[in-house]
Symmetry: C2
Subunit: 119 residues, 2 copies
């Protein structure tokens, strides 16, 4: 086990499933692009490769963001919160955006507006 | 059951514990302030009161942000992501900041810098 591994496990609190939520933010304008989950291995891969890697809870596997879409995220900084149980990753977003729908951000819908329309 | 209740449960996917992560962002500069969890009741209280309410997993109770600290968060918009399982709330942050440590944001530590220092 390297120093890096020991240290990450001390600094970051993974939940009972071994995961931590990672918020991804565009470093150029601070827009929030997406939220996904990381396990220790995807966090280590993110740090070593300089691009975001996540853990898919549905597929139960690691995935490198942008491998199929080209929407690679280059890591500019990686912050962790006061409780050590949430990550905030500032990136340069390549391609047209972060969302699999084709939108720039995954947060393209307004709950208040949509609630009123539907009720 | 009101239309609002039906609708929120249709639009937002709560996890097996009945919770959804809520990212809170400063609407004035897009800085990410914190991440906390909401259940259906805290989401309804947030929408009806116009300020953030969360659910504390450790204390197992609802809490209104700022009730003890004065650091109230006025909701400007409430977005939900492509999967419907994460919220993004843009707020006006009152008081000195969002974090219980006294920091403006809960994300005041850099994992890469701290890993290198400790190893």
């Amino acid at each position: 086990m390297t120093h890096d591994e020991i240290d990450l496990e001390r600094l970051v609190k993974f939940n009972s499933d071994g995961l931590v939520p990672a918020i991804v933010q565009d470093s150029t304008n601070n827009e929030v692009l997406m939220m996904a989950w990381m396990n220790l291995e995807s966090l280590r891969l993110t740090l070593s490769s300089g691009r975001t890697w996540f853990y898919s809870r549905s597929r139960q596997e690691l995935w490198a963001k942008g491998d199929t879409s080209g929407a690679i995220q280059e890591v500019m900084s990686l912050l962790y919160d006061c409780d050590g149980d949430t990550l905030l990753i500032k990136v340069i977003q390549r391609g047209s955006g972060a969302c699999h729908t084709g939108n720039y951000s995954c947060f393209y819908r307004d709950l208040i507006a949509d609630s009123k329309m539907a009720s």
